[in-house]
Amino acid sequence: MKVLVAVKRVVDYNVKVRVKSDNTGVDIANVKMSMNPFDEIAIEEAVRLKEKGAATEVIAVSCGVAQCQETLRTAMAIGADRAILVQTDAELQPLAVAKLLKALVDKEQPGLVILGKQAIDDDCNQTGQMLAALADLPQGTFASKVEVDGSAVKVTREIDGGLETVSLNLPAVITADLRLNEPRYVTLPNIMKAKKKPLDTVTPADLGVDVAPRLKTLKVSEPPKRGAGIKVPDVATLVDKLRNEAKVI
């Protein structure tokens, strides 16, 4: 069984982004870029499935600018066998990415597709579910445990108030939540090995997908700032303030 994993290049989670002064977007020039943390978990899970013998090949896919190659090399250093870059400088929205991935699913016929549940830049939480719908596959979103069992996969999902377990017929789409696993550190020898692994580049046009954005961003602004409060010297003052000033208890 092949496993296809989608990875996104995003602003590193430690970077605090700044809104551009002309309110057209956030300034991402010269900031550190990394693999979306949930996608790292997705790759790790796919590699573990291969190590357990449940998967035969792990293919990493990224959609975006040429520099996404670095993200794909990282995925291969974690253990993906090969990579595909769908290269474009166009702005890609989740529906477009889902269509690109659907085209690759048709071509590669994976048994399982794993994605991160959400990208930490646009915070959309859409691509996995959209891919599942377009490819007419069942989905296991927000997964914290994945067990492949013959022609089905058992997925434990993080839901409001607890956990839920579903069984999905393969092929299926899974999106990774935080507790699915802890991704391994990539080692230097594996980074060197990853450089020799195959990386194919295609374009949206090759896949016959129109990626034109459907949503227009009119304005990006700073959120309202919270005024700094005060420090209180002790618990008694705190309780007094909460009772008599803020009146919340």
């Binding site: 605090k16 990006v220 919270r226 005060i230 209180v232 909460l242």
Partner: protein, 310 residues
């Protein structure tokens, strides 16, 4: 122009997030209909009909909807979608699971986690963990939206008298099945709806200490318990207690953060709270920059002292 709100419910009753979503739908203009897709969900449908501002309730019943499987619920929404200009889901685990399937099948973009309706086609939503707010305009015929519940007031649970219309249920996809669930049972208020939330961070040091220190405070205040991602990662608290960018978004009247440093992704989940209290022994902790009242102290002494003083 008519909006369809997909109700969050447990078959017996409507969940609170539905009410905020109704308010967002009303802001889009036009009538508001509510879909209750469930199994033996007549009581939930009757309750939805009472919500102020709802013109019609559509009730689809079938065993395939008992556990809200995305494949089946999405099929039901799609069967009705043609009649609507806006389809709105609460941005809960359930809503986020289903909405993108609907959007993709309609070949429209989804607008996630909106915090404001500027006009029928223009919405505000947070990006980068709430460090920026984007105003986006949709050119699509149908707007598929998830609603951040803290951005909208709850509609009144009474005052409405909508008709309930039963419709044929969409068939089971046959591709997924519900096996079971483990839902934590407690008497505490729901984290996203609580008036007071007390959250613990990594400084608690262990699951035992987390319970020992945070539970009495929550009991005393009648509060819901939350946790930082660091505390969840370390196994001190369950994942569904996580407050932050990728966990729950809360905006209670009072938020008490104990031993939480205040990473960007945590602040994203709680900075719209009315009053924020931070208890931390590190004077440089970023949480103090958003706290109305900061107490620089060791939480292991300050929290029990606070419990006694309340």
């Amino acid at each position: 122009m008519t909006s369809l709100v997909i109700a969050e419910h447990d078959n017996a009753s409507i969940k609170g997030a539905t009410l905020n979503t109704v308010t967002a739908a009303r802001a889009c203009g036009g009538d508001v209909h509510v879909l209750v897709a469930g199994s033996g969900a007549g009581a939930a449908a009757a309750q939805a009909a009472q919500i102020a501002g709802v013109a019609k309730v559509i009730h689809a019943d079938g065993a395939q909807f008992a556990h809200g499987l995305a494949e089946n619920v999405a099929a039901q929404v799609l069967a009705l979608a043609g009649a609507y200009s806006h389809i709105l889901f609460p941005a809960t685990a359930g809503g986020k699971n289903v909405a993108p399937r609907v959007a993709a099948k309609l070949d429209v973009a989804q607008i996630s986690d909106i915090t404001k309706v500027e006009s029928a086609d223009t919405f505000e939503r947070p990006i980068y963990a709430g460090n920026a707010m984007a105003v986006v305009q949709s050119a699509d015929a149908t707007k598929v939206i998830t609603v951040r519940t803290t951005g909208f007031d709850a509609a009144a649970t009474t005052g409405g008298s909508a008709a309930v219309e039963s419709v044929g249920a969409a068939a089971d996809s046959g591709k997924s099945a519900f096996l079971g669930s483990e839902i934590a049972k407690n008497d505490r208020p729901d984290l996203t709806a609580a008036k007071i939330v007390v959250s613990g961070g990594r400084a608690l040091g262990s699951a035992e200490k987390f319970n020992e220190v945070m539970t009495p405070l929550a009991d005393k205040l009648g509060a819901a318990i939350g946790a930082s991602r660091a505390a969840v990662d370390a196994g001190y608290a369950a994942n569904d207690l996580q407050v932050g960018q990728t966990g729950k978004i809360v905006a209670p009247q009072l938020y008490v953060a104990a031993g939480i440093s205040g990473a960007i992704q945590h602040l994203a989940g709680m900075k719209d709270s009315k009053v924020i209290v931070a208890i931390n022994k590190d004077p440089e902790a970023p949480i103090f920059s958003v706290a109305d009242y900061g107490l620089e102290a060791d939480l292991f002494t300050a929290v029990p002292e606070l419990v006694k003083a309340l």
